[in-house]
Amino acid sequence: MKETRLGEFEEVILLLVGILGEEAYAFKIAAEFKEQTGRAASIGSVHSTLNRLSEKGFVDSAMGNATSERGGRRKRIYTITAYGQQVLKEARDFKMSLWNQHPTLSLDKFSIA
């Protein structure tokens, strides 16, 4: 088994960064997280996770341009790195392989007739 070093929360956040693209900054990600999962996450906890992901090299970040909203303050926009993409894919493949080995719940049996 290959260790993906990606927790469940981290994986979701990483996926959300990919989904949000240009709009991937802490507040938006937290809002989207709530939208998608129905669970609330504070901006602080999302920020801290992003920080960790960036230390691991899964995301990059850069300050965006100043806009008139939010008092002219800039946003930090996160983007997935190639390494991050690869880790995400590995995490998915790993789970797929587990699902396929599962005796009663093998994905084949769920195929729509």
């Binding site: 507040f27 901006i43 906890s45 920020h47 801290s48 939010r70 008092g71 303050r73 946003k75 930090r76």
Partner: protein
């Protein structure tokens, strides 16, 4: 209100700016503001503000904290205080160990007592309707005393349901708890149970694993505890399986409930059956009117009603029904509702005054506080005693600008450090001791490691203790005059040790009081144990007559048991010898005063009962199987004869009208010494023994003298098994049952002993530390004295004298305190020991001895030092 009015709360923003890393500030402030306005759009300004605060607090994470927080002046100072405190601790390792050890012992005691108190206060809280369920109690007057009981007549339950239903959500009857035989296949088990009304499950929110709240609707149903279901059926699903009950009925399992917690009233109940089945088995119960009390009634109040209101409304319900009977005008039975909240802690009545275990909760709570105080005193004494050693440091700190407040803060930090270390140690100690403590206290306590409230309370507690212990030393030390210290003329005067002396006196006073208290508790137990019991407990076995067959085959049982050769004889009785199962009024005797009444233990026995339990006759003779006239004979105990005011009772005639049965006339054929049946701490009840055979429930088996108990037991079991293959052989030794009457007091005694020993240890630790300090301080003086010719004995006397005086003063102070305290405690027992003066003498002598030994170690060590060594330094 215009939109622009709303901005994020400024205080929260300032707080964020204060702790957040500067490079993150722009993005984070932006994000939070955006989130704030998003929230504002969907809800109120207040909610948006709270939301903003919530987000700010959630940024208190390591990655986001500003470096500056770890680098500013205050932080550095605190770090310095901790470092100095830490170093000081290791520099004087001996003192620190005494300090921490004493404090850790004190804190462990407090933790254990705290857990115990918490357990007591949360008794029965497992029931969801904790606040609305109560039990109906009955009071009455008898010869000027007010009694309170929970036994009630069956008719009352019907009346409450019929005419008072607006007051209650549920009225639940529960018959007396007992044990019954459950048969499954070839196996049979004796298990404890209560017959209850079906609504019991709902009122007490029994945690049902299977089955529902109607599980007991059918009279032939049975509801099992989870562990009993496990015993009977293993992993099989018990639902709707059939169980043989008392070899008589087949019951269907209609529910299983999760075992009730150890601190709840019904914790020992292994199964419930329907009260209706009990009535089918005992149809006579339906026709007893209002004067025969044999069940308990629980009620859940209508949510609109208060306990007082309901109590007032039902107060006279029984009296209304019985007031025509002459006897009840003086008794005047009244009812009230006893709320579940008070069942455990206020479960006793003394002449109408509500008391109970709350006394012990208060007692041990106080002891806990005192033991903590002792530990704090140790800390104060050792810190101030060693102040001269730290005087230079204080002088230097003050002269380079440290203010008094800062020094106070420094010493408080140090005391917090010591208390925190002690707390960690005490957690370990108490975790190790919970097993022993649980045994001592009959509890299932555990340290709630994962409970956030426990940690919160612990932190508050550490702070409080740290401040308490550090308060005096920090004010004392910070008040030193720097000029005098640094000039070298600083000497703590004679008076400086006065507060220390006072504290030592307090410590020993508390300890000595605890020791005296412990001795008196033990004396009281021994005294009550030595009370004559009126029969022979050893070698007497009591066997409940579990099924109807016991009554049919009584003669067979008797013959077969005697045939084994181990058994001298077998007799029947109502209830075990060690308890009273039936008490009644309604007696009339010669020379009775008007309104004079008696609550008599009325006990049916077989004719040979007296020979089997070995009564001691004062006059007259025992029943005889051969004399038919004995069926209208009665045997009284001495208390009954005293109540009758007779010198000689043999041959006298008494009349008994039980109200629930025919009035009969009895002739006294014998008088026996009192048999202790209820509490050994209270006067014996008057008792009357009859031959009427009504309600006999126990076999009393006298084992032949000299026979081995184990082989007798196995022979008896074999015999009983051969007669009743489907009934497990349950028995109890009379001496064991009797010993259980002392459980509560012995438990208190053992706990008190443990606490008294702890108090002494902690106080002696402090004394030991102080003695070491004094000896060290006087090293030079001792050296010079030795050179001039003082003997070791002289020096020992010089060093110990002061401490001995202190301990002696404490002893004198503790005498009145202990005397009044223990006298108060003893008032709860009518049969009580008187406190002998030797207790005080012995305790004081012991305290002095322990103190002398503690101090002597240091004194002799100092006195034997070679003066050449002690005078050479510097």
């Amino acid at each position: 209100m215009p939109e622009t009015q709303h901005t994020p709360p400024p205080a929260a923003r300032r707080f964020l700016q204060f702790f957040l890393r500067k490079d993150l500030l722009e993005e984070v402030e932006g994000d939070l503001e955006e989130s704030y306005y998003a929230k504002l759009e969907e809800s109120s300004g207040l909610r948006a503000n709270l939301h903003y605060w919530y987000q700010v607090i959630n940024y208190l994470r390591p990655f986001a904290l500003s470096e500056k927080q770890f680098n500013n002046n205050n932080y550095t100072m605190v770090r310095n205080y901790l470092k100095i405190g830490w170093r000081n601790m290791f520099r004087n390792l001996g003192y620190s160990l005494i300090n921490i050890g004493g404090m850790a012992l004190g804190l462990s005691t407090v933790i254990l007592i705290g857990l115990w108190v918490h357990d007591e206060l949360t008794y029965n809280r497992n029931h969801v309707n904790y606040e609305s369920v109560g039990q109906i109690m009955r009071t009455g007057n008898l010869n000027g005393e007010k009694y309170t009981t929970n036994w009630l007549p069956y008719a009352l339950a019907l009346e409450l349901r019929e005419n008072y239903s607006h007051l209650f959500d549920h009225v639940v009857t529960a018959f007396s708890p007992g044990s019954a035989i459950l048969g499954l296949g070839t196996e049979s088990y004796s298990k404890s149970m209560i017959p209850v009304d079906p609504e019991f499950i709902e009122a007490f929110t029994l945690p049902m694993i299977s089955g529902n709240e109607q599980a007991l609707e059918d009279p032939y149903s049975i509801v099992l505890s989870e562990s009993l279901a496990q015993t009977l059926f293993g992993d099989e699903d018990p639902y709707f399986k059939s169980i043989r009950y008392n070899n008589k009925h087949d019951l269907k399992v209609t529910g299983v409930f999760r075992d009730l917690p150890h601190n709840s009233r019904f914790r020992d109940v292994e199964f419930f059956i329907s009260s209706e089945l009990n009535l089918i088995d005992n149809p006579w119960m339906l026709e007893q009117g209002y004067t025969n009390n044999f069940l308990q009634i629980y009620v859940q109040l209508n949510p609109q009603r208060s306990y007082d209101e309901v109590s007032a409304a039902i107060q006279e319900v029984i009296f209304e029904q019985v007031k025509d009977q002459e006897h009840y005008t003086s008794v005047h039975p009244q009812l009230f509702v006893h709320p579940m909240e008070k069942w455990h802690l206020y479960g006793e009545w003394d002449n109408g005054v509500n008391t109970g275990r709350i006394r012990y909760v208060k007692l041990f709570g106080t002891i806990g506080i005192f033991i903590l105080l002792l530990a704090c005193i140790n800390f104060m004494n050792l810190s101030t005693a060693r102040s001269e050693k730290r005087a230079r440091e204080i002088g230097v700190r003050k002269s380079i600008g440290s203010g008094k407040a800062q020094l106070i803060f420094q010493f408080l930090t140090e005391s917090l450090l010591i208390v925190s270390i002690s707390f960690v140690a005490s957690l370990l100690i108490s975790a190790l001791l919970t097993g022993v403590f649980n045994q001592l206290a009959d509890k299932h306590l555990a340290i709630p490691w994962t409970n956030p409230y426990f940690w919160l309370i612990s932190i508050v507690f550490i702070l409080a203790t740290g401040l308490l212990a550090g308060s005096y030393p920090s004010f004392y030390l910070s008040a030193f005059n720097p000029v005098r210290i640094l000039k070298g003329t600083f000497r703590t005067g004679r008076n400086s040790s006065l507060p220390r002396k006072i504290l030592v006196v307090i410590q020993f006073t508390v300890s000595v009081v605890l020791v005296i208290g412990t001795i008196v508790v033990h004396q009281q137990i021994q005294y009550a144990k030595g009370k004559p019991v009126g029969y022979e407990r050893e070698g007497l076995v009591m066997v409940p007559m579990a099924t109807d067959e016991y009554y049919e085959k009584y003669e067979l049982i008797r013959d077969r048991l005697v045939e084994t050769g181990y058994v001298a004889d077998v007799a029947q009785s109502m209830g075990p010898v060690t308890d009273v199962w039936s008490s009644n009024g309604g007696f009339t005797w010669k020379g009775q005063e008007p309104n004079e009444e008696g609550d008599f233990a009325t006990i049916s026995v077989s004719a040979n009962f007296g020979d089997v339990v070995k009564w001691n006759f004062v006059e007259g003779r025992n029943f005889s199987e051969d004399m038919a006239s004995d069926s209208s004979g009665v045997i009284l105990n001495e208390t009954a004869v005293k109540l009758f005011g007779m010198d000689q009772a043999e041959g006298e005639v008494i009349i008994w009208d039980p109200t629930w049965a025919e009035t009969q006339t009895y002739r006294v054929i014998g008088v026996i010494e009192d048999v202790v049946m209820r509490s050994p701490y209270f006067p014996n009840m008057p008792a009357a023994y009859f031959l009427d055979g009504r309600g006999v429930s126990h076999l009393n088996i006298r084992i032949r003298e000299g026979a081995s108990l184990t082989s007798a037991l196995s022979a008896m079991e074999e015999t009983m098994r051969s007669i009743f293959p489907n009934v497990p052989f349950t028995y109890e030794f009379a001496d064991d049952a009797y010993a259980r009457k002392f459980d509560m007091e012995e438990r208190v005694g053992r706990l008190a002993t443990a606490f008294a020993i702890l108090a002494i240890i902690i106080s002696c630790l402090g004394l030991f530390g102080l003695a070491a300090y004094v000896a060290e301080q006087k090293t030079k003086e001792i050296g010079i004295r030795k050179v001039v010719g003082a003997s070791t004995i002289n020096l020992w006397g010089m060093l110990t004298k002061n401490f001995i005086i202190l301990v002696f003063v404490s002893s004198l102070m503790s005498i009145p305190l202990a005397y009044f305290g223990m006298n108060e405690w003893l008032q709860d027992y009518e049969y009580r020991v008187s406190i002998g003066w030797w207790v005080f003498g012995l305790t004081i002598a012991g305290a002095l001895l322990v103190a002398v030994l503690t101090v002597s170690y240091q004194a002799i060590r100092a006195a034997r030092l070679n003066p050449v060594v002690s005078l050479r330094s510097e």
